[in-house]
């Protein structure tokens, strides 16, 4: 059993505070759905969990089975069992997916000779053509193909906890179903813990979360079950967004907004 525990996590980009006290625990076999409006900091949460450069943790902790992830490099977090499916997977010209996954296997003490067969198996499970396996990483792939590629890598790498950042964007209905089924199978077959981030509820039509969290104002504002998805569908996020917490930039302390109407 593995547990990803996020406690009172604060993080910033440059001087802008984005995460403001995130509390969340994801255990093996659980699917947590995180929904929130654009700009609420969902993708920042994913980036901070994986240790992406440019994001600074200012307070709080992230642990995986008690290990402090904030003290680890991105590679070390991955080796510890964390996986991030990126919202926008990066193109790496001239680098074959197979070389990457074999290198990752070597680094975590697995047998790289098994990677090739695992790639083919995973590709088949999500209806991803084998011809894509020989392409340079994400180069000339459509948005949907990139998301399948991320899912394939999740399958081969066998992480303990997977963070899926907008895995649904770019996928058509059929692909979304295949990818969601693959993630669910991983939760039952290997007890994968999942943190699935999205701003559309349609992902949760396919990937049924055990827990739903509403993310707004840089933190989790509400937690519950699928009834929260229905509430978002009916009412939107408006009720959760704290207007005062909208990011404002101050100029020299004179005024919050130098372009404000002085007669207002």
């Amino acid at each position: 059993m593995a547990t990803l525990q996020i406690e009172n996590l604060w993080a910033s980009v440059g001087r802008t505070e984005i995460l403001r006290g995130v509390d969340l625990t994801v255990a093996s076999g659980e699917v947590h759905g995180v929904m929130g409006p654009n700009g609420s900091g969902k993708s920042t949460l994913a980036a901070v969990l994986m240790g992406r450069p440019g994001f600074t943790v200012t307070a709080g902790s992230i642990t995986l089975d008690g290990i402090d992830l904030t003290a680890l490099s991105t590679f070390e977090r991955a080796r510890a069992g964390l996986f991030l499916a990126l919202q926008h997977p990066i193109e790496v010209p001239g680098v074959a997916l197979r070389d990457v996954l074999e290198s990752a296997a070597v680094a975590r003490g697995a047998d790289p000779a098994l990677v090739g067969a695992a790639m083919v198996t995973e590709a088949t499970r999500i209806g991803f053509g084998e011809s894509f396996l020989d392409r340079a990483l994400n180069v000339d792939l459509s948005g949907g193909e990139k998301k399948r590629n991320e899912t394939l890598q999740m399958g081969v790498l066998e992480p303990k906890i997977a963070v899926l950042d907008e895995l649904d964007s770019g996928l058509d209905v059929d692909a979304l179903r295949l990818v969601s089924r693959r993630v669910e199978e991983a939760t039952s077959e290997r007890s994968l813990g999942v943190l699935a981030i999205t701003h559309f509820s349609r992902l949760f039509d396919e990937l049924k979360p055990d827990f739903v969290h509403i993310f707004a104002n840089g933190r989790i504002e509400a937690s519950g079950g699928l009834e929260l998805v229905e509430q978002v569908e009916a009412e939107g996020y408006g009720g959760w967004v704290d207007q005062r917490s909208e990011t404002t930039v101050t100029f020299g302390g004179l005024s919050d907004d130098p372009f404000a109407d002085p007669f207002a």
């Binding site: 994986m50 992406r52 450069p53 490099s73 991105t74 590679f75 977090r77 991955a78 080796r79 996986f83 991030l84 990126l86 997977p89 990066i90 790496v92 010209p93 001239g94 680098v95 070389d99 990457v100 996954l101 290198s103 990752a104 680094a107 975590r108 340079a136 990483l137 890598q153 790498l157």
Partner: protein, 409 residues
């Protein structure tokens, strides 16, 4: 402007082989050189280069070829014809129809050059050699030329490739050396006739104490194509100058270059393409990496002449800096004197892409391995463009070796 003393005398020239006409031309070149200052970094085409550190007088011309030894990389390429050059001397040729190899006649050498090192080469090249391909012939396997430096001093190989109309030939040149302190000034001239297709594939793998000031000059007639590929790996200060004149209508140059600097290597690329004819095309791509204390300079000048309407020119130079002490300079230029043309250029200099590193790390690849993969991948499109597999493989091996082992500066 001070005139540096020359590393040779009139007697040096008189001792070289060749016809009376060739000797006369050498003396004329020497006389012109005596009036020509050695270049300095004040000249734009030598800017950023370590030319100031080069003292030509410390490299007396090699008077006779050293012992022949196998050049594995050249021998690995299946060949239609072969030329073995040692210390500037042609020591072996092997050719049959439709390829002919012969000493250059004086009238095949053209006008005297202007630049100092070209004059030096014209004065001292012991055996300018012409590789000619008959009209309409498609040469099945490459013409393979090995340029081997075995002796301390300076050497001046000179090869002219004359591809007659509608012929097709690939010429492979491998530059290698023994562990000597030497200056090599190779001259390769390509004359592509009407609708001729000439491919020049070069791999420079000289040892670190060899300074190489290479020059490739090409003229391309109507509908002809000159395709070039070069990998610059060895040498200390290694300069590669390319001059191409797209003289005929519809002529083209496609040129891919890869280079890697380690230790204190200096890589210096100067590319000049003249679009003279109508509807001419140039496509230049150079990619390089610099590590340790090495430096790389790329300057490209694409000139579209007034009559060259319908021309199409693209030029790309990308550089990865792998060490804070390494340095790369990229200066792509365009000079356009006709409005009906399409031109683009792009250049980049920077460290390994942070997003790519993060992406591979997030898959569980350690940072050093990720860097190796990304840099090897960065070169992939250029290296893969080599039409001669053994040279592409050698370049890949060299790059991977440098990335995985590192090298002391």
């Amino acid at each position: 402007m001070t005139l540096t003393p020359l590393p040779f005398t009139n007697e040096t020239i008189d001792a070289l082989p060749g016809s009376a006409g060739l000797t006369e031309r050498r003396h004329a070149a020497a006389a012109a050189l005596a009036e020509t200052p050695w270049p300095t970094t004040e000249a734009e085409e030598w800017r950023y280069s370590p030319i100031g550190k080069l003292d030509v007088t410390t490299y007396p011309p090699v008077a006779a070829p050293g012992p022949v030894r196998p050049v594995d990389l050249a021998d690995a390429v299946e060949a239609s014809a072969r030329v073995a050059i040692v210390d500037g001397f042609v020591v072996h040729t092997d050719a049959s129809d439709p390829v002919a190899i012969a000493d250059a006649a004086t009238n095949q050498l053209g006008d005297l050059p202007v630049a100092a090192f070209s004059l030096l080469a014209a004065a001292l090249a012991p055996q300018p050699t012409v590789v000619s391909v008959a009209a309409g012939a498609a040469v099945a396997q490459p013409v393979v030329i090995s340029n081997l430096v075995t002796t301390a001093g300076s050497s001046f190989p000179h090869v002219i490739v004359e591809a007659d109309s509608d012929s097709e030939v690939t010429v492979v040149v491998v530059h290698q050396s023994a562990d000597v302190t030497a200056l090599c000034v190779p001259r390769i001239e390509v004359r592509a006739g009407s609708a001729a297709r000439v491919t020049l594939v070069e791999l420079q793998d000289l040892t670190r104490d060899v300074t190489c000031l290479g020059r490739v000059s090409a003229t391309v007639a109507d509908q002809g194509t000159f395709t070039g590929w070069t990998a610059g790996l060895g040498g200390g200060f290694a300069r590669h100058r390319l001059d191409c004149t797209l003289a005929g209508r519809g002529s083209a140059i496609i040129y891919n270059g890869a280079y890697f600097g380690s230790g204190v290597q200096a890589r210096d690329y100067r590319v000049f393409v003249d679009h003279v004819g109508r509807d001419t095309t140039s496509n230049l791509r150079f990619s390089g990496a610099v590590d340790d204390h090495s430096l790389a300079v790329y300057t490209g000048m694409i000139r579209i002449h007034p009559d060259a309407r319908g021309s199409n020119a693209t030029q790309t130079n990308r550089n990865i800096t792998l060490s804070p002490d390494a340095w790369a300079e990229s200066v792509p230029n365009l000079e356009i004197e006709n409005n009906d043309v399409q031109c683009s250029h792009a250049s980049t200099v920077g460290p390994v892409d942070e997003d790519q590193l993060f992406y591979l790390a997030s898959r569980g690849v350690p940072d050093d391995v990720a860097t190796q993969l990304i840099v090897a991948g960065f070169f992939d499109d250029i290296i893969s463009a080599s039409p001669v597999a053994p040279l592409a493989d050698a370049a890949r091996r060299d790059i991977r070796r440098r990335l995985s082992m590192g090298e002391p500066s």
